[in-house]
Amino acid sequence: MPEKKVFVGDVRFFSVLDESGAVDSKLEPAFSSDELKKLFEWMIQIRAFDDKCVKLQRSGKLGTYLSVLGQEAQVAAALAMEKNDWLVPYFRDNGLILARGAKFEELLAVGGGSEWGSQFSGPNILPVAIPVATQLLHAVGIAWGMKISKEKNAVLVSFGDGATSEGDFHEAMNFAGVFQLPVVFFCQNNQWAISVPRKNQTASETIAQKALGYGFSGVQVDGNDPLAVFVAVSEALKKARQGKGPTLIEMITYRMSDHSTADDASKYRSLQETRAWEKKDPIDRFRKYLKAKKIWTQAWEDRVGQTIRTRIEESMRKAELIPNHPSTDIVDFVFLESTMELLRQREFLEEAGRREKRDDAK
């Protein structure tokens, strides 16, 4: 028997705007100028909110914060979703979560240490999963449910490059391929998993190509090009809704900030590298494009910026107005029907609260 080739793979990189903001008109999506403006507004909104959160963390009002700086084009993925789709986010997805309809004050509440914030406004958004890659399997299950009940919707699940090393990633991809599930794996390859660079995370050339091993297609997109992200995610979601199975999208981007407010990236990566990525900034690039299309003016951006700042300030007031929830919350949501032991512990919490008040009064 002669040897023959039994598998040939194909992975493409896709972008619409180049680094200078020049557009490939053949690939340009048909957006109205209002839609383009909205996309831009979302990106600067996320950047402003992100900046605020870093400051709030420094002043002790928020816990450890994970910045989205540099990955703002992620909002395009949320805008590509339909109402009945589901978003299964990871911990660097404030842009996605907000663009899908959650409120600033909800994210501020979670960041400030209250579980109540995780009840996001906006349709079908799961709370953020912190254990890396675990949420991919939930997305698979939700997509499976859609398939079984013959809904024409899809799930977008988001995660980082580091997540592709976890077993859960591979198991989720495998299930999705075997059962041909309507799920889009949206990998934000920001080149780093805390201090570990992408090249030490996997020996494969791209992350996108991993999809081929599970029997479906993978594509790389320029993750600092919101139009490319929009087009790629829209197409993958459409394919999923039509019953044509899953897609892996590798969004090539860069984590411009430290991993979190508890991290110091200068320990493990060069300033040169970060500087080089600054030139590819998704907002700058999109601004140039809008300017060339005569949609953007400085006055307009200033006005929008002002509105955004006002809204963020308002949300902070709202977040501060949220009354402190009682300590009995700790035990009240463990089960729908509490157990005898949890009810006893609830009494203990109430008694401890009363004792504290008495001690304070003394």
């Binding site: 400030g112 912190i130 493990y268 949890l342 609260g353």
Partner: protein
């Protein structure tokens, strides 16, 4: 002797162990160039090179599973799980293999592996970064579980864990990492696994604790002593094997026992100690055993963390009640 916090003591311990034995490897997420997210492995890669201090891909099951293989092959891996709340995907490897390979092969193979992991709360961290799930591991036959509460115990226990012929889970209460400094010997020394430490002698009541709650028990003991209640505080240091003899010894002369941990109340280390006392020493008790513990609920986010965690006030309050029984 040098003044060290727990991080520095652990770092010194790892340094010494790697220097003394070429088969000791350190591996995990961000342990190399970054020196670990808490800096416990700071400087090790620089000194011993990337073949012995290894930044792995992000995969806990692989870190532990591969460490089992390395241990079988004759190395002494010291694996780090970045937070104990992320150890669960490695659970199968620990339970099904690390804990059983000696027994399964009737001693032909063994697994001298250390898994270090920060644990417990009190620092207003994100979800899953404040877990106290040590009892899960204590329940597994074939695993040893230790948790120091001071810098010098941390260094000595780590030395014992690394030379131990069997798998040891080494939990580090992250709240204590930088809480206090003490004089620690630069020389090699071992704190034996399975030996409790008498933190404070007392004749009226025994308080058994470990990890993050030890300093709270000490504070409570101090406050109680002003009221004439002399509390004997024991730090278990090793949870499995347990120094039950030390607990018995103490209870024999105090006749009262409280157990304090921040892990959930039910099915925990406290339950084990209380059950053994009930079985073997019940006639020596003047009052029922008391458990002062976290709640049977997921560790809350920061706003309610304080309400969840036992503290010195609550410990003192419960012990006074116990004294008045």
């Amino acid at each position: 002797m040098t003044l060290m916090n727990m991080i520095q003591a652990l770092n010194a311990g790892l340094f010494g162990a790697m220097q003394a034995d070429d088969s000791v490897l350190v591996l995990g997420e961000d342990v190399g160039l970054n020196g670990g997210v808490f800096r416990v492995t700071e400087g090790l890669q620089k000194k011993f090179g990337p073949d012995r201090v290894i930044d792995t891909p992000l995969a806990e099951s692989a870190i532990v599973g591969a460490s089992i293989g390395l241990a079988i092959k004759g190395f002494r891996p010291v694996a780090e799980i970045q937070f104990s709340g992320f150890a669960y995907s490695a659970f199968e490897q620990l339970v099904s293999h690390a804990a059983r390979i000696r027994n399964r092969s009737r001693g032909k193979f063994s697994c001298p592996l250390v898994v270090r992991s920060p644990c417990s709360g009190g620092v207003r961290a994100l979800e899953h970064h404040s877990e106290s799930m040590e009892a899960l591991f204590c329940h597994v036959p074939g695993l040893k579980v230790v948790m120091p509460s001071t810098p010098s115990d941390a260094k000595g226990l780590l030395a014992s864990a690394i030379i131990d012929p069997d798998p040891v889970l080494f939990f580090e209460p992250l709240k204590l990492y930088r809480l206090k400094k003490e004089e620690v010997s630069e020389d090699h020394y071992e704190i034996p696994i399975g030996k409790a430490r008498l933190v404070r002698p007392g004749k009226h009541v025994t308080v058994v604790s470990y990890g993050s709650m030890v300093p709270e028990c000490e504070k409570a003991a101090l406050a109680l002593s002003e009221k004439g209640i002399e509390t004997e505080v024991l730090d278990l240091r090793s949870l499995s094997p347990l120094d039950f003899a030390a607990v018995q010894e103490s209870v024999k002369h105090t006749n009262r026992l409280a157990i304090v941990h921040e892990a959930p109340y039910s099915f925990g280390v406290g339950a084990e100690i209380a059950a053994r006392i009930a079985e073997r020493n019940v006639l020596e008790l003047d009052a029922p055993v008391v458990r002062i513990a976290g709640l049977d609920a997921p560790m809350p986010l920061s706003k309610l963390e304080e309400a969840y965690l036992p503290n010195a006030n609550r410990i003192a309050f419960e012990i006074e009640k116990l004294m008045n029984f």
